[in-house]
């Protein structure tokens, strides 16, 4: 029986962590993820979990301790945001290349500078090529569900890669909303006992982790690592299916919302998808053929699947909550366009960079995007594919 409750995203994720009962949690506070280790340390000090909580002196050390703990043979988890994630950068790559199934709540926040504590996706998008699986949630329910599924995905023997459970700072992390929780034993059974194949504290077989890897081996290790990322797609679908049986909540690599015969489509990540869904509903009620794709799994990127879903629409607006600083398009736009390149039929595409540093995304912002798409469809071309939504511009 599901438990009806009302929790913020951070509290929900902390509850998931309590139910998972990992061996080690090592974390350093940074807004807006701070509440996760706060809630969790109270579970530790009230004896509700067996976890060793390591209140480290930096995020670099948080990830380092997780690497040590995970290699040692227990589940290791942490949480961070923005600059904290940036300080972990070196260790993100090492965690992934050591094939350690660490799960990290990544509460998205704009990356300094200038310093800004509010939501955008600059932090995790910057780490998109670190070898971590990245799953993005729209609301507190998804943040909770993804935290639980992340454990099973990362530990799958075909994958063995760490997972970032990304959700929007403040918007999701701090807002109280309705949520359905699973019972403790249901989560416990779902994630199962952790049984790594090789681990440091195996008394029967000492091992060595983290070698100097010279040119005659390194490339093969990297190729092996990418195989884990490729296989993660099937594993994510498999785990999501199993989760659906428990909860009735269905998850894929991305969500197709009202995509039947959709001609104009928005592709977006995170909480903005919720706001955009309301706009899609409103326009559909007026008979407009609009739809939405919410990307859930950004790493591995479901390129073929996204291309297929977009094959029959006329124009697509790809929305990035961070800039790319290549001067031409941000990460999601580039990924989607690359995916579309191999298809014979492809829609017109336009990139909107929006919501940086917590600039609020309103219903009328999304309405504007759909009305721009109408113009694009009418004219049959995109004059300026790289656009900013909501920035104050002297020329507009």
């Amino acid at each position: 029986m599901a438990i009806r409750d009302k929790l913020s995203g951070n509290e929900a994720v902390a509850v998931a962590m309590r139910q998972i009962n990992p061996g080690v949690v090592a974390a350093f506070p940074i807004t807006p993820s701070t509440e996760v280790p706060q809630y969790f340390s109270s579970f530790v000090n009230n004896g509700q979990v067996d976890t060793e909580f390591v209140p480290v002196e930096s995020e670099h050390s948080a990830m380092s301790a997780c690497i040590g703990a995970s290699a040692a043979g227990v589940r290791a988890m942490t949480a961070t945001s923005a600059n904290g994630l940036a300080l972990m950068w070196e260790m993100l790559y090492i965690a992934a290349s050591c094939r350690l199934p660490i799960v990290m709540a990544t509460v998205n926040r704009a990356l300094s500078g200038p310093i800004n504590i509010h939501n955008d996706h600059a932090d995790s998008m910057g780490a998109r090529d670190s070898g971590w699986i990245q799953i993005y949630g729209e609301n507190n329910q998804e943040a909770y569900d993804n935290e639980i599924m992340a454990v099973k995905i990362s530990e799958h023997k075909d994958v063995l890669l760490p997972v970032m459970n990304c959700y929007d700072g403040f918007i999701t992390s701090h807002a109280i909303e309705n949520i359905e929780l699973l019972e403790d034993d249901v989560v416990k059974n779902f994630v199962g006992a952790y049984k790594p194949e090789h681990y440091l504290l195996n008394p029967n077989q000492p091992i060595a982790v983290g070698p100097l890897d010279l040119p005659n081996y390194y490339f093969e290790h990297k190729r092996n690592q990418v195989e884990g990322m490729r296989k993660a797609k099937d594993v994510i679908l498999e785990v999501s299916k199993e989760f659906e049986k428990l909860t009735g909540r269905s998850y894929g690599l991305f969500e197709e919302y009202k995509m039947d015969e959709a001609e104009r489509v928005v592709v977006v990540i995170g909480s903005t998808a919720g706001t955009a869904k309301a706009v899609v509903d409103e326009l559909r009620a007026k008979g407009e053929k609009v739809g939405l794709i919410k990307v859930r799994v950004f790493r591995p990127f479901p390129a073929e699947e996204v291309a297929k879903a977009l094959a029959n629409c006329k124009a697509v607006a790809i929305m990035d909550k961070c800039d790319g600083f290549n001067g031409k398009g941000a990460p999601l736009f580039n990924e989607v366009c690359s995916a579309l390149y191999f298809d014979e039929t492809k829609p017109l595409a336009v990139n909107y960079i929006y919501g940086l540093g917590g600039r609020d995304v309103r219903v009328d912002d999304i309405e504007k995007v759909f009305s721009d798409l109408t113009e694009i469809v009418a004219s049959g071309k995109v004059d300026d594919p790289y656009r900013y939504l909501g920035v104050v511009d002297a020329n507009c």
Binding site: E57, S64, A65, A208, V209, G210
Partner: protein
Amino acid sequence: MAYNLKETSLKPERLTGGHRMCAGCGAPVVARSVLRALKPEDKAVITSATGCLEVSTFIYPYTAWKDSFIHSAFENSAVTCAGVEAAYVNMKKTGQLDDTYKFIAFGGDGGTYDIGIQSLSGAMERGHDMVYVCYDNGAYMNTGIQRSSATPKYADTTTSPAGKVVPGKQQYRKDLTAVMVAHNLPYIAQTAPIGNFKDIYEKAEKAIYTEGPAFLNVLAPCPRGWRYDTPKLIEMAQLAVDTCFWPLYEVENGVYKLTYKPKNKRPISDWLEAQGRFRHMAKDAEKVEELQQEVDRRWDLLLAMCGEK
């Protein structure tokens, strides 16, 4: 049981040959000496900072470590070890493990005094049951002999070269052992591989078997960086100790104890003249005198702390 070198030879070797440290390197001598203090029945997990010791002892697919070993990066040997130790505590608590493990983190002076000091300070402050061993060879030897905060004043390194205007490193070395004393750890010691290895063995044993965090600072001569002939490894360490450049002492629960007092304190020039890295100034009486005064000042302070004065 009193220390006996021959008895210790009965213990299994925990660092095998076949690693790729330089011929005559002090670091593996330090590492195997520390590991020899482990009880044969106890298991261990070793961590190491990136550095000579790590990149030479664990080159895929060969590990020279008989115990489980993990390296992750340069600045985090201490906290990587702490993460392993935390996992051990959890596994013990939940009945997943019966065996006894000990946790030893290694780092050079670069990975300890400099880039790794934050991680070291954090791990020690949190009280993990582990030993951190710094093998101090007084420069970043792995990357090609750059100065560190452990490098002695006037040493010629590749980033503090003995130039026409500036004669080598311009600062005295950081007293990291004192910094660690300020962490109020149950056990801290400074030692070196000399004589019959009694000093290093007994300190390693105490460090490993004292509950809670412990820190060992061990001098590890480097023939390449110090520029002396490889056979003189132990001689170099002995000179550092006898000139009181590198005093041997321990601090147990805040109480200082000198563990070796040279019968005849030798002048610092004896140590300087034995090494190529001081060649540009070893005959400069003024500079040698300046170094002598600094050595004497620190030695006198230590004697006072140890109640020897």
